[in-house]
């Protein structure tokens, strides 16, 4: 497998995107093109990428170390050289595989979900652009190139959140996502620039960075680490930059599934893992990251308990799960974090797509308290949703159990008992609110009967596939202590961090505790919501329901103050000071020019006379100067 | 020696005066008589002094006298008196001065001294001619302008435009000629033309440079304000052009100035294109070497020619009334002719018999060359007159068309061809 095929992984979706865009423009401006042609090109791209990625995977399996492909120099200024480089090592190929796989599934799903939409071609053009950006992010061989992909996915996220831009709320949500991401991106950029200042001259691909990062002073490394993590915060929706993610659910459900659950939001995790050589040198920053992750996890879980919108619940659950991932990567267990990314991608995509199917079936109804009793109507959806819910709740043997347990195990093993405790509690909360959602949606009594919309097989088939994945993906990381081979750990050996030292019995005990927490959550939910009466009023108030008024606080603290500052600058400084100065200066020149302009009388002889006077004065000066 | 120098200079100046000023009455007479003969009439032949009318030549002198003694009238609307007065002078003087550089004969060697036979011994004669031809237009322009009269002003505008237009072509034609001759010294030019090409054709300018010759002749007509280019006068359109308001000797100066300019143009044409003072096939050196043969030839030829001329006089110079004193003229003329023949033959015979000194030979050759020059000049002037009484006047736009669209391109092309030929075949 020649390494230059790495670029094709990125280029195929990119070309597909351009082609689809051109077709879409042709379609809307000249002649309508049937959806099936869009579908064909749209589905071809991620599958082809997956295929190529799989070939690389096989190559790596056969013992090749890593693939590096640098087609040309992207920038070259005075010895600072940045190549357009692609890196295909075990981490990135791992990411490529699941991104393209999940992407392919969601593409198939979306082809059913979006059927008949006016922006069908546009949607897939954006989708493939997102795929290209994400794959570029993953495959980049230097932080700068990664940043291109980083910004690209941000752009696609914005475009897709505001896909139905005729609705003002969607546009606001898109803007919110974009701005929150900008804050994070600034941090990321600051980190890159700092890094570049110190080691840029020596080479700026990951190999060189890994070799030379030790020359950077430690306090600078801390700044770099925190700055990069701020970027990760923005992208992966951690405290305090998580606020955009729930609002991002305004986009079509496949978007939520692909971008805001499975792939893009994990970019932060991937980035931290990619910079593991840096974070290894500053473990206390890692702990800080872990705490941030833990609190994000808890916070989001608490908010999710009271939400009524099915997609928002899932969004908060995503934030919560991302918190788990950051716990892992913060504590140096990158492979564990990535394992959770992997499993989470399956079950969260499954959940979102299931939710999407429900929404479609109910004619775009998203409030769970207006659903109920759907078990008999859509049994297939019911069963796959059950798999997903069980997986996220951490019930063995579903995939969530293995990865979440591994995260908790790492926390425990690092003697971060607070984090462990939070994680455990959150696991229970997760089980509670997920089953709350599940029971309210599919069970209950006194629910309203309503006509269901048929769900096409193009939506169902990926659900089934993903359900299988959600159910059994965890066995890829089957813990060693049960005699299994943790394939993730062995595959991502370089990222597995410090080995765990724990007794078998302790491990069993920890697992049991977490399973127990999950079961407690499930049982509480069961008693509370299995027989939920839909006739009762829904309480839509309270601190938790209003998300701790975080949005309002931010609005008051930052947005209003910013607006006041802007007003002050605009009115006082700009109008009162700068404009006045500049205008008075220019008016002065105009007045001066008007006065001087009177000399421009168009009287040639007057000009000649001025010249003569000048000549004469100059001559007198010279005579006096030269003297004698 | 100084006496010789002064006398040669004086002779030169007198010759120049003779050929220019003295030629004027003759030219007036020629013009009238030729016009008469061309139109099958006689022309003036009546005026006489003691019976001598010299074929009507006396009439010219009578006219001159009339102009001199006529009232010098100036119309009341003429405000620019000074300019009005000076304009004919400019015309006359510039025409007269332009004649002064014509070589009348080859360099005259007396003893050890060499004299250039020119009124003004300048070695850039062609340029001098051009300069003064340019200046002469001032007279016409100012005369017309100061007359304060619309016809006069039109005449002077026409003259100005015409001179400016045609001077260009004239200069360019001259340039090609100068390339051929390799000198601007008129004596050099004439000496160049004393050679032969192909062994039997005189190397005259008109044969070397026919195109330049034609252009130069045409533009000379324009410069001299002669028909067919005399639109500045244009009496059929603008009364009399620039000299409408002039009378008496002021008009006389214009009148004479025109003939002097014509004479000067002829002289330059003769010098440039017709071998100057050279007798065809006989160069200066040949003349000097074989002076004996020349003298014998003259002794033989002169009586023969005189005999023919006498016969012509007897036949044509008659007066209808038998008792008039004019009938005696032919008799006296033949007597003078015979006397002159006898004198010349005796003189030349004595030269033959006793032999001649080099100085005498030189002087005699110079005299012969001056005579040749005079004859050629007269013939050229005759051509001027001949053309005047043959061709009609140009229209103004035709004139400018001819100048700018025909003569100018042709003269430039001629320079080009000449230069190529010189480069290709050598000078």
């Amino acid at each position: 497998m020649s390494s230059n095929f790495l670029s094709w992984i990125v280029l195929i979706p990119l070309f597909s995107s351009i082609l689809l865009g051109a077709m879409y423009l042709y379609s809307i401006s000249v002649k309508k093109i049937a959806d099936r042609y869009f579908t064909f090109f749209a589905l071809l791209a991620p599958m082809a990428s997956f295929f190529i990625g799989f070939l690389f995977f096989l190559g790596l399996l056969n013992g090749n170390g890593e693939y590096i492909y640098e087609p040309y120099t992207w920038l070259g200024v005075n010895g600072y050289i940045i190549s357009m480089g692609f890196l295909g090592d075990k981490l990135s190929i791992f990411m490529v595989l699941f991104v393209t796989f999940i992407g392919s599934m969601i593409h198939i799903y979306a082809s059913g979900y979006m059927k008949g939409d006016d922006g069908y071609g546009k949607f897939f053009s954006y989708f493939n652009l997102f795929m290209a950006s994400m794959l570029l992010l993953v495959l980049a061989n230097s932080p700068i190139i990664m940043f291109i992909g980083w910004e690209g996915v941000g752009l696609c996220s914005y475009l897709l959140i505001g896909f139905y831009f005729t609705e003002p709320l969607n546009v606001v949500a898109g803007n919110k996502a974009f701005i929150a991401n900008r804050v994070g991106d600034l941090g990321f950029l600051v980190g890159i620039v700092y890094l570049f200042f110190y080691v840029g001259k020596l080479g700026f691909d990951y190999g060189a960075l890994e070799d030379y990062v030790s020359i950077v002073p430690n306090h600078i490394l801390v700044i770099i680490g925190i700055s990069l993590f701020i970027g990760a915060m923005g992208k992966s929706a951690q405290i305090p930059l998580y606020v955009w993610l729930p609002d991002a659910m305004a986009g079509p459900t496949p978007v939520s599934a692909l971008i805001h659950a499975a792939t893009m939001v994990t970019a932060g995790v991937y980035m931290v893992a990619r910079f593991h050589f840096l974070y290894d040198l500053i473990p206390h920053v890692g702990v800080f990251i872990a705490y941030i992750g833990a609190f994000s996890s808890l916070f989001a879980a608490i908010i999710a308990m009271k939400q009524t919108d099915i997609k928002k619940i899932l969004a908060y659950s995503t934030i919560s799960q991302l918190g788990y991932m950051f716990i892992a990567v913060g504590l140096g267990a990158y492979s564990t974090g990535l394992f959770h990314v992997f499993t989470h991608a399956f079950f969260k995509a499954l959940l979102f797509m299931g939710a999407g199917a429900v929404i479609i079936a109910l004619h775009h109804e998203q409030n769970i308290f207006k659903m109920g009793g759907l078990r008999k109507k859509i049994p297939l959806i019911y069963s796959v949703m059950l798999v997903g819910t069980l997986a996220i709740s951490g019930i063995p043997p579903f995939s969530g159990f293995f990865s979440k347990d591994e995260v908790l195990l790492k926390a425990y093993n690092h003697n971060e008992y607070l984090i462990y405790g939070i994680g455990l509690f959150t696991a229970g909360l997760t089980a509670y609110y997920m089953f709350r959602l599940f029971f309210v949606t599919f069970e209950g009594k006194n629910y309203k009967e309503r006509k269901m919309q048929n769900i096409s097989w193009s939506m169902k088939a990926p659900l089934v596939i993903l359900a299988i994945g959600a159910a059994f993906a965890g066995f890829v990381g089957f813990p060693k202590i049960f005699g299994g081979a943790n394939l993730i750990d062995s595959w991502l050996e370089a990222w597995s961090g410090a080995p765990t030292h724990i007794e078998f019995s302790a491990d069993i005990m920890l697992m049991s505790v977490s399973v127990l927490a999950g079961l407690i959550g499930i049982s509480v939910a069961y008693f509370k919501f299995f027989k939920y009466d839909f006739n009762q009023d829904i309480k839509e108030s309270g601190l938790v329901y209003n998300k701790f008024y975080i949005d309002e606080i931010i609005d008051f603290l930052i947005v209003r103050r910013m607006r006041d500052l802007s007003t002050f600058v605009a009115v006082v400084i700009d109008d009162g000071f700068i404009d006045k100065t500049v205008m008075s200066l220019s008016n002065g020149f105009i007045n001066l020019g008007r006065r001087v302009g009177r000399m421009q009388s168009a009287n040639t002889r007057a000009y000649a006379f001025f010249m003569l006077v000048g000549l004469s004065s100059f001559s007198i000066y010279l005579i006096l100067k030269l003297g004698k | 020696m100084n006496i010789i120098l002064i006398s040669v200079v004086i002779v030169n100046i007198i010759l120049a005066l003779l050929f220019s000023l003295g030629a004027a009455p003759i030219l007036v007479w020629v013009e009238r008589r030729v016009a008469g003969f061309i139109q099958d009439r006689l022309g003036p032949n009546r005026c006489n002094i003691a019976g001598f009318r010299l074929g009507g030549l006396i009439q010219s002198f009578a006219d001159m006298l009339k102009l001199v003694f006529k009232e010098d009238f100036r119309a009341g609307n003429i405000k620019e008196r000074f300019i009005f007065r000076i304009a004919p002078v400019i015309v006359f003087v510039s025409a007269f001065l332009s004649f002064m550089v014509m070589p009348f004969a080859d360099d005259l060697v007396i003893g050890t001294q060499t004299f250039i036979m020119q009124g003004l011994p300048l070695d850039f004669g062609v340029l001098w001619f051009l300069a003064l031809a340019g200046l002469s237009v001032y007279g016409i322009i100012l005369g017309g302008w100061s007359s304060n009269n619309k016809y006069s002003l039109l005449g002077s505008v026409r003259a100005g435009a015409q001179v400016i237009s045609y001077e260009v072509s004239m200069t360019l034609a001259l340039v090609s000629l100068l390339i051929t001759y390799g000198s601007i010294h008129l004596v050099d030019i004439v000496n160049f033309q004393s050679g032969l090409i192909f062994g039997f054709i005189p190397a005259w300018g008109i044969i070397m440079q026919p195109v330049a010759a034609i252009i130069f002749i045409i533009t000379s007509f324009a410069e001299a304000n002669r028909t067919p280019f005399d639109i500045a006068e244009g009496e059929s359109e603008i009364v009399g052009g620039y000299h409408t308001e002039y009378s008496a000797m002021k008009f006389g100066l214009f009148f004479v100035g025109e003939y002097v300019a014509m004479s000067a143009s002829s002289a330059l044409m003769v010098t440039l294109f017709f071998g100057g003072y050279n007798i065809p096939w006989v160069g200066t050196d040949t003349l000097k070497e074989h002076f004996d043969i020349v003298m014998i030839a003259i002794i033989v030829l002169l009586p023969l020619l005189s005999y023919k001329f006498g016969g012509w006089i007897l036949k044509n110079n008659v007066w209808p009334k038998a008792d008039d004193k004019r009938n005696n003229e032919s008799k006296w003329l033949i007597r003078i002719l015979v006397m002159m023949n006898i004198f010349v033959v005796l003189l030349l015979g004595s030269f033959l018999f006793f032999g001649v000194s080099a100085t005498t030979t030189n002087i005699a050759v110079a005299i012969m060359q001056v005579a040749t020059f005079a004859i050629k000049l007269l013939l050229m002037n005759f051509v001027f007159v001949w053309v005047r009484w043959t061709l009609p006047r140009f229209r103004y736009d035709q004139l400018q068309d001819l100048g700018w669209k025909v003569l100018l391109p042709i003269s430039i092309a001629n320079i080009f061809v000449t230069a190529i030929a010189i480069v290709a075949f050598g000078a």
Partner: protein
């Protein structure tokens, strides 16, 4: 009505060069010149006044004359017909009674101003008794003063017919 455009001829090279035509014209003039120069008797010019014109016809209207009767007295009866007919008013007549019985009147003075006369012959046509005629054949009349150009009765009577002279 359109404008008729008359084509200009002479578009051939020879015509456009003009020089052949010019030389042709000059040939014509020089042939006249040489012919006349060699023998001036070819020219028909007469050297007046030495040579008087000899081809004046009978009908030539020269200077006037008054005719005589048989007895050499004036034939004119002073009827003023000629003065009336004269377009130039150049005839001045003073009548007087005639005593010899030949007629009732006769002119006392009869003068003609030749400077004003246009030699139209109107007076001759108008005269009822053939008293005035213009057959003298005098085609030029020379005088030194203006007054001398006014011919009086005696001068007019003295003029004679040309035919009679020959």
């Amino acid at each position: 009505m359109g404008i008729k455009i008359v084509p200009r001829y002479g578009k051939s090279l020879k015509d456009r060069l003009y020089l052949p035509a010019i030389f042709g014209g000059m040939k014509t003039t020089i042939s006249h010149f040489t012919k006349n120069l060699i023998d001036t008797s070819n020219i028909k010019t007469e050297c007046y006044p030495e040579m008087q014109p000899n081809d004046i016809t009978d009908r030539y209207r020269g200077v006037h004359r008054l005719t005589h009767r048989e007895d050499d007295s004036v034939r004119c009866v002073a009827c003023f017909m000629c003065a009336t007919a004269c377009p130039a008013d150049c005839i001045f007549i003073e009548a007087v009674e005639r005593t010899d019985g030949m007629a009732e009147k006769m002119p006392a003075k009869f003068s003609i101003d030749l400077l004003e006369c246009v030699f139209c012959g109107g007076c001759v046509e108008a005269c009822p008794c053939d008293a005035i005629r213009m057959d003298t054949g005098i085609f030029t009349f020379i005088a030194e003063k203006r007054e001398d150009f006014v011919l009086n009765k005696e001068q007019l009577l003295n003029n004679t017919a040309r035919k009679e002279e020959n």
